[in-house]
């Protein structure tokens, strides 16, 4: 194993395929995640987001392809590798009799043998409880926490070992707007202050736009788009819509060159124009365009295969 440098991707996947029996969930996935990046995996239900992330976590074996996470194959990587990776799991009813403080102390303990002076592990439990906003609930029974509080505890459990790479699968599903905002701040803080590399999946486009340095759109078992929210939006033809009234008639025209088009409009019609409005294409438009474009009629949309 050679020492990782900054140039080495944290996650590197080439030609990853996954099939359950005769059903192909992932047909060919190639992706890279660089150190310190926040990458969001976006895609419709059944696109293979969860499968992808579970392969990278080492919880599932791909049918084919090369997978490297922190320089190792997650399927065979050992406990020292495990100590550098954080996984945020969705809790449900586990540890109901425990308290957040007790659980974090217990689970955090496993990282102690992997502590180094540069990277002391695990985080201090009280500090972490404060960071995720559970300070005042530290000694309550977990079974009595609200849904949002539980999810914050899940995040705390995922990052207790000060991971270099953090996986989050639909972290904000079921959050109220306040909890969602708090969570976004937490992700920013992890990424900015700790330099944690983060890979998350979501359905929520606004969330992807807000959090991610880079967005990957997964559809039909492969990556159909890769870039920042801006880049992706620019890539779809007609990134803006110009609407105007001319007399009593309403016009709509999609264009990539808003300034040029509007100048021309003024030159041609001048004073006749009323109600001019320019609407930039949203990430949502882009996403729908990308997903539709990749759609092959024969590709059956799969339900998330739960096995």
């Amino acid at each position: 194993m050679r020492a990782a440098t900054d140039a080495d991707p944290v996650v590197s996947v080439r030609g990853m395929r996954m099939s359950y029996g005769s059903v192909d969930v992932l047909t060919r996935v190639d992706l890279d995640v660089r150190p310190g990046e926040v990458v969001c995996l976006l895609g419709p239900n059944g696109a293979g987001k969860t499968t992808t992330i579970e392969i990278l976590e080492g919880f599932r074996l791909p049918s084919a392809g090369q997978v490297r996470v922190l320089g190792e194959d997650p399927a065979t990587a050992g406990d020292a590798w495990r100590a550098r990776v954080g996984v945020v799991l969705q809790s449900w009813r586990d540890h109901a009799r425990w308290t957040p403080r007790r659980l974090l102390t217990s689970l955090g303990g496993y990282f102690l043998p992997y502590s180094t002076p540069e990277c002391p592990r695990p985080y201090d439990v009280d500090h972490l409880l404060g960071t995720v906003g559970l300070g005042e609930h530290a000694d309550r029974r977990i079974g009595t926490l609200s849904g949002g509080q539980r999810r914050r505890l899940d995040v705390a459990v995922g990052i207790i070992g000060r991971p270099e790479l953090l996986f989050l699968d639909e972290p904000t599903a079921g959050f109220d707007p306040q909890a969602r905002r708090d969570f976004h701040e937490l992700v920013h803080r992890l990424s900015d202050l700790e330099g944690t590399t983060i890979l998350l999946t979501t359905h929520d486009l606004a969330e992807a736009e807000k959090l991610a340095d880079r967005i990957l759109i997964l559809d039909g078992g492969r990556i159909v788009a890769d870039g920042s929210a801006d880049e992706l939006t620019r890539r779809v033809a007609g990134t803006a819509e110009v609407r105007w009234m001319q007399g009593s008639e309403r016009f709509v025209h999609p264009t990539a060159d808003v300034v040029g088009f509007v100048r021309q409009l003024f030159e041609q019609h001048g004073d006749e124009l009323t109600d001019l409005e320019v609407r930039k294409a949203s990430l949502e438009d882009t996403y729908l365009a990308m997903v539709q474009r990749s759609e092959v009629p024969t590709t059956a949309r799969l339900q998330e295969v739960a096995r």
Partner: protein, 284 residues
């Protein structure tokens, strides 16, 4: 710092925490109370029955067997349920995501279920000694026998519970896969009536499993020597008792890590998610 030893230390502490939390939980207190009251009532209503030709009262004869059955039952069904449930609720997955987490988890399970044996046996043993006379004929040597039979019984049956919990498809199936065979086995193991009253082949089946031997070992500790005539071959068969229990313990120690590893390999988030959805359908 050796990570494996460290994880086992964390597991021991986890088991102790689970045990303390269980003692404080009204649900578990209720379970212990229910088992104890049920057993004591059964013995109380049979307190004047004398076993023919032995001069032994029924509670004297039945108590050691019942303790043996509770041990075998609790130590198999307890971990089976716990493991099946914690596979579904994500407890196990959380540990799988930790370095050496599975070692800590399994240590925690073994610790917790071993400790849980104490309240379940003591809640019956202590009131029984207050309510009935002449229960222990073996004296100090008898108590010593109780200790080694319980320890060997634990080692022989605990792995079975872990294996069962690893292979059942869902928590709901622990009843059919686990409870049913264990109840049948208990019924034919000479707990409630002497094993001689059963057909020969049934006696053979019973003697292949640990439950019968745990009961026999405990009877040899509690009962007077004259009661040996109620046993097969008119002997306490101490040697074979040790041999059978040790054999089961060895098989368990060899097999359990493999089964656990195989089960853990298959754990993933979508599995937990599927179980959650299935359980919500059960509720609604």
């Amino acid at each position: 710092m050796n990570p494996t030893r460290h994880a086992i230390g964390l597991g021991l502490r986890r088991g102790w925490t689970e045990f303390v939390l269980s003692l404080r939980s009204p649900q578990d207190q209720g379970f212990y109370l229910f088992t104890a009251v049920g057993t004591l009532l059964f013995l109380w209503f049979n307190r004047d029955n004398e076993l023919e030709g032995t001069g032994l009262m029924y509670p004297t004869y039945a108590l050691p067997s019942i303790l043996g059955a509770l041990l075998a039952f609790g130590v198999v069904i307890g971990p089976a349920f716990a493991l099946a449930m914690e596979r579904e609720d994500g407890t196990l997955l959380r540990h799988k995501a930790l370095p050496h987490g599975m070692q800590g988890y399994v240590t925690g399970q073994l610790t917790f279920h071993s400790l849980s044996l104490f309240p379940s046996l003591l809640t019956i043993l202590v009131p029984s000694f207050l309510l009935f006379d002449g229960l222990m004929h073996g004296g100090a040597a008898g108590w010593f026998t109780v200790v080694w039979v319980v320890v060997l019984g634990l080692l022989a049956t605990l792995p079975l519970g872990m294996i069962l919990g690893s292979i059942v498809p869902s928590t709901q199936k622990v009843g059919t896969w686990g409870m049913l065979p264990v109840v049948v086995l208990t019924a034919i193991s000479g707990i409630f009536f002497p094993i001689q009253s059963l057909w020969g082949w049934v006696q053979g089946v019973a003697q292949a499993f640990p439950t019968y031997w745990i009961g026999l070992g405990l009877r040899s500790a509690f009962l007077p020597d004259s009661a040996v005539t109620l046993e097969l071959g008119d002997s306490w068969r101490t040697g074979p008792t040790v041999a059978v229990l040790v054999a089961w313990a060895l098989v368990g120690a060899l097999l359990t890590p493999r089964v656990l590893r195989r089960m853990a390999r298959r754990q993933s988030g979508s599995q937990v998610e599927a179980a959650r959805e299935a359980s919500l359908q059960w509720v609604h």
